[in-house]
Amino acid sequence: MRTSIAWLRRNLVVIAGLVTLAYMILPNVVVTVFSFNNPTGRFNYAWQEFSLDAWKDPCGVADLCGSLSLSLQIALWATVAATALGTAIAFAMVRYRFRARGAVNSLIFLPMAMPEIVMAASLLALFLNMGIQLGFWTILIAHIMFCLSFVVAAVKARVLSMDPRLEEAARDLYAGPVQTFVRVTLPIAAPGIAAGALLSFALSFDDFIITNFNSGNTVTFPMFVWGSAQRGTPVQINVIGTAMFVIAVLVVLAGQMVGNRRKKAQPK
């Protein structure tokens, strides 16, 4: 009895941590299990019987795959644009001294320190006042805007931890500025840029609040899920949720394996 209490005390943190992890994973488990459900009504909230129908025909629901491909397109373009703009800003912030540095810093910090709904509503105010038609372009504009800050943060962190002597060494070896940038700077900054890009993609793909305000009649995947919560949730939504989870885990694991191999290849 006494030893078991001692064991419990020693491993309290482990148990509490695993409980939290279970809390975090539980909805994913439910989503996966219910992707094999065959619900009787419009809603997929109660277990009826096992079925593979939804997995055989994930696009069997009207507009579902259309919204999915729209979300993927928006996320892709938003990632490309935000990564390019954000990386440039991050380099300027870390590598150069210039006027209005503080102002630029707070301008980049503010979008992250503001409730999303405030930004969403203000963008809508702009588009309404300017008479701009809501749709694909307004969603894309908004997504680039809020992804930008996160890219800057990710790239800045990486570039800050970079040894400037590596670039000096390259210049001492008569590398031109372009050559130094492409052969030395960019490869070292790459993990930060990749992290920023991955984060933008995830943020854009999953964004609901800002999209809800600025999409008009355009239906992205999160908008489709939102609508289905009122109209009836097809099982295919769970199939796509499950597939996204699996793909994400595989991508992250693959990324870590590549990272580990790099680390082993060049021990520091």
């Binding site: 941590g17 909805p27 440039a88 300027a92 301008l107 702009l126 305000f213 899920v225 989870f245």
Partner: protein, 312 residues
């Protein structure tokens, strides 16, 4: 945006460290501005300018049919604030509770990953990050299944008398959990947990474990080591984690909409319906500015206090 670029080249720019081999050309000194220009322009046009438009919207009067006009009607702010005070207070209460719960739940997991996980560390990190990539709306809807009236969770909570206590506290109703404050706070806590865990983990991971050994050598009990060494050193993570949780939670309306009822409406729900359903733009804009002001003031005070030793 030509202003700063022109100012960019003051004739007596301070020389860079070390002996100046050659004077940087004007073109070279403009490089940071060219790098900044596109991104900053984007933020000015699509982040700052919208705020200006929203400010102007908030002092307009009129109707959708006849059109709105700027009349400097500041009364809207006071009316909106007093009318929706319950929703404001509820939002802050829910977001605050969710933040505290996230800290209590997230800290052990972050600690476990940082110090006790060993070779499981990468797997655990993946399990924390992976939900980011699954649509959070789908996961929030899954809570409807988990907390369903006829589901096992509610049955167990009912059996152990938990729901009697929470009903007495007024956070659940009868033997229901869905459509009560408990469900909304549960959803908020769940949705923002990763935003708490990741900063906590990154600040815990940086702690030198030799400090723990040193404290142990000085006869500190484990609890004392945590209180005097680990927790103070993890403060940066605690501060950024609580901000990353509290700020989005205070403006969220998804959890209150999907898991709550009309009695659990948060200020986000009000702003959303004013903007998108009732189309009362001035009130909606005023509400959104009041929310922004409250959050910014609270965050500033919090950062000030957390910056000193008061919180530790």
């Amino acid at each position: 945006m030509t202003g700063p670029a022109v100012e960019a080249a003051p004739p007596q720019a301070p020389a860079p460290a070390g002996p100046p081999v050659h004077k940087p050309s004007v073109r070279k000194r403009l490089v940071p501005y060219w790098l900044l220009l596109p991104g900053i322009l984007w933020l000015l046009v699509f982040f700052v300018l919208p705020m200006v438009y929203q400010a102007s919207t908030s002092v307009q009067t009129g109707s959708l049919e006849e059109g709105f006009e700027v009349t400097w009607h500041f009364q809207t702010y006071w009316d909106a604030f007093t009318e929706y005070l319950p929703q404001f207070l509820r939002s802050l209460l829910y977001a605050g509770t969710a933040t505290v719960l996230c800290l209590l739940l997230g800290y052990p997991l972050a600690y476990l990953i940082a110090f006790r996980a060993g070779r499981w560390r990468n797997l655990l990190l993946v399990l924390v990050i992976a939900p980011f990539f699954t649509s959070f709306l789908i996961r929030t809807l899954a809570w409807k299944t988990i907390l369903a009236d006829s589901g096992p969770v509610v049955a167990v909570l009912n059996k152990i008398g938990f729901l009697d206590v929470t009903s007495w506290l007024g956070i659940t109703q009868g033997d229901r959990v869905l459509a009560t404050p408990l469900a909304v706070v549960c959803g908020l806590t769940y949705n923002f947990l990763p935003f708490m865990i990741l900063p906590l983990y990154s600040s815990l991971e940086r702690i030198d474990t030799r400090l723990h050994e040193a404290a142990g050598d000085l006869y500190a009990r484990p609890a004392t080591v945590f209180r005097k060494v680990t927790f103070p050193l993890s403060m940066p993570g605690v501060v950024s984690g609580t901000l990353l949780t509290f700020i989005p939670a205070s403006g969220d309306y998804v959890n209150a909409e999907l898991l709550g009822s009309t009695d659990t409406r948060m200020i986000g729900n009000v702003i959303q319906s004013q903007y998108l359903r009732i189309l009362d733009y001035p009130t909606a804009a005023a509400l959104s500015f009041i929310l922004m002001a409250i959050v910014l003031i609270m965050v500033t005070i919090y950062i000030r206090r957390a910056g000193t030793e008061d919180l530790v």
